[in-house]
């Protein structure tokens, strides 16, 4: 289970612009990243997110949704946004 306390304070706009009010850092994410963030904020697990993304987004041959979600979570951890 991820520590979502920082994520809950994150300001997320529909354009994919993020503002972390604790550090003052800003980020830009694409539509997929936005979907993952919004799902995380509601408390969905990594497996649930992968399942939803696979269903919601058109998948081209060979795409590894699980790998992409894991990488994105790693980026979020690097920036201290999830524990």
């Amino acid at each position: 289970m991820h520590d979502l306390s920082r994520l809950r304070n994150l300001a997320v706009s529909e354009s994919g612009f993020l503002f972390d009010p604790v550090t003052g850092h800003t980020f830009n994410v694409n539509a997929t990243g936005l979907a993952v963030l919004q799902a995380l904020k509601t408390g969905r697990s990594e497996d649930q997110i992968i399942a939803e993304l696979t269903e919601s987004f058109e998948q081209e041959g060979g795409e590894d949704v699980a790998r992409d979600v894991a990488e994105f979570l790693t980026r979020l951890r690097e920036h201290g946004l999830v524990g």
Partner: protein
């Protein structure tokens, strides 16, 4: 009123006073040069005074302020430069006799907040400062490099700081700061991480009137913050409160805090005993700290300060101010800029 590429806080303080809807006073700019840009800022000032440089001595400064009182009826002075602050802080009785009020730190607080003594604050609850030591000889550097490791911070007693990556660099910086400011030079353990700045006002009794924290987003080649954003980090405000309590601080201050990139530990690396040049951001975020300081100087109670908004930006710009030559003439000929000469 200096607002060049290394701006002084005076213009920001003046703007914040102007911004307050209930402010009915006049704003008189104090500067050291007839071309200080603040004198020419449209709609900012009701008058201006050229002060003698601090090196001219306390009596010269008091005489100039007395003249300003006579000309403009000044009630409150808010010093915004370190170099003028000590003279003003030590001249409380003389200024009161002139009818000029201040809300500035006491001399003992100023001393305790100075760079050479900052490490003593580590003994105060809630305050974390990096190891540091004031030195008067470069001979002390090798021992401190061994103790603090590299890189190491070398700081001038009044202004400036270098990150030295070798003992040789540290020695070079030491001599440069001695040549500029004299001794001591402060050697401080380097904290890798991000800097946050907090503008605040202490009530003089250990309490915090208000405080706004921000992170610089853009820094010039002179190390000046040219844009920044307010942050909502209670730990920064707690540390600032602890500093104000420990020092029983009265008046404005800026606390520079470094957040260690690995441990996240906050360290107070410097205390500036006056408003920073970015203080108008505090007003933009909902806490008009300069106006609060003016009220306190007049003996009014501190105004209630709302929680400030995070995510408020300041972005500094350079613009060419068009002015009449008469403003320059007044300042150079008489050292005064009278209201009828102000370009609006």
């Amino acid at each position: 009123m200096n607002a060049t590429d290394n701006p002084a806080p005076g213009v920001a303080v003046a703007r914040s006073l102007r911004h307050e809807p209930s402010f009915r006073g006049r704003v008189i700019g104090l500067g050291y040069d007839a071309l200080d840009p603040g004198f020419y800022a449209e709609g900012l000032l009701d008058g201006g005074v050229i002060l003698p440089y601090p090196s001219a001595g306390r009596d010269a400064m008091l005489a100039a302020l007395g003249r300003a009182k006579h000309e403009f009826g000044i009630d409150v002075v808010i010093p915004t430069l370190d170099s003028e602050l000590r003279a003003i802080a030590s001249a409380g009785p003389e200024l009161e006799a002139l009818g000029i009020r201040t809300f500035v730190p006491r001399m003992d607080s100023l001393e305790r907040a100075s760079k050479p003594r900052l490490h003593e604050l580590a003994r105060s609850p809630g305050v974390v400062v990096p190891d540091s030591e004031p030195i008067v000889s470069a001979d002390a550097i090798p021992k401190l490099v061994k103790r603090f490791g590299l890189p190491i911070m070398i700081k001038g007693v009044y202004y400036g700081g270098d990150v030295a990556h070798s003992e040789a660099d540290a020695v070079l910086s030491f001599h440069r700061y001695v040549a500029t400011w004299g001794v001591p030079v402060v050697v401080q353990r380097f904290i890798p991480g991000e800097e946050y700045n907090v503008a605040a006002v202490g009530d003089g009794e250990g309490g915090l009137v208000g405080a706004v924290a921000m992170r610089k987003m853009m820094i010039t080649d002179k190390g000046k913050g040219w844009s920044g954003v307010t942050v909502d980090n209670p730990a920064l405000l707690d540390m600032t409160r602890a500093v104000v309590t420990a020092l029983q601080w009265r008046g404005p201050l800026e606390v520079e805090i470094l957040r260690h990139k690995d441990s996240g530990e906050l360290n107070v690396v410097e205390i500036n005993p006056r408003f920073p040049a970015w203080v108008h951001l505090s007003t933009g975020a909902g806490q008009n700290l300069p106006y609060a300081c003016a009220l306190l100087a007049l003996g009014h109670p501190a105004p209630p300060m709302p929680a400030y908004r995070s995510g408020v930006l300041f972005v500094r710009i350079s613009l060419d101010q068009i002015s009449d030559l008469s403003t320059f003439e007044q300042l150079t000929a008489s050292g005064l800029m009278r209201p009828r000469q102000v370009t609006r």
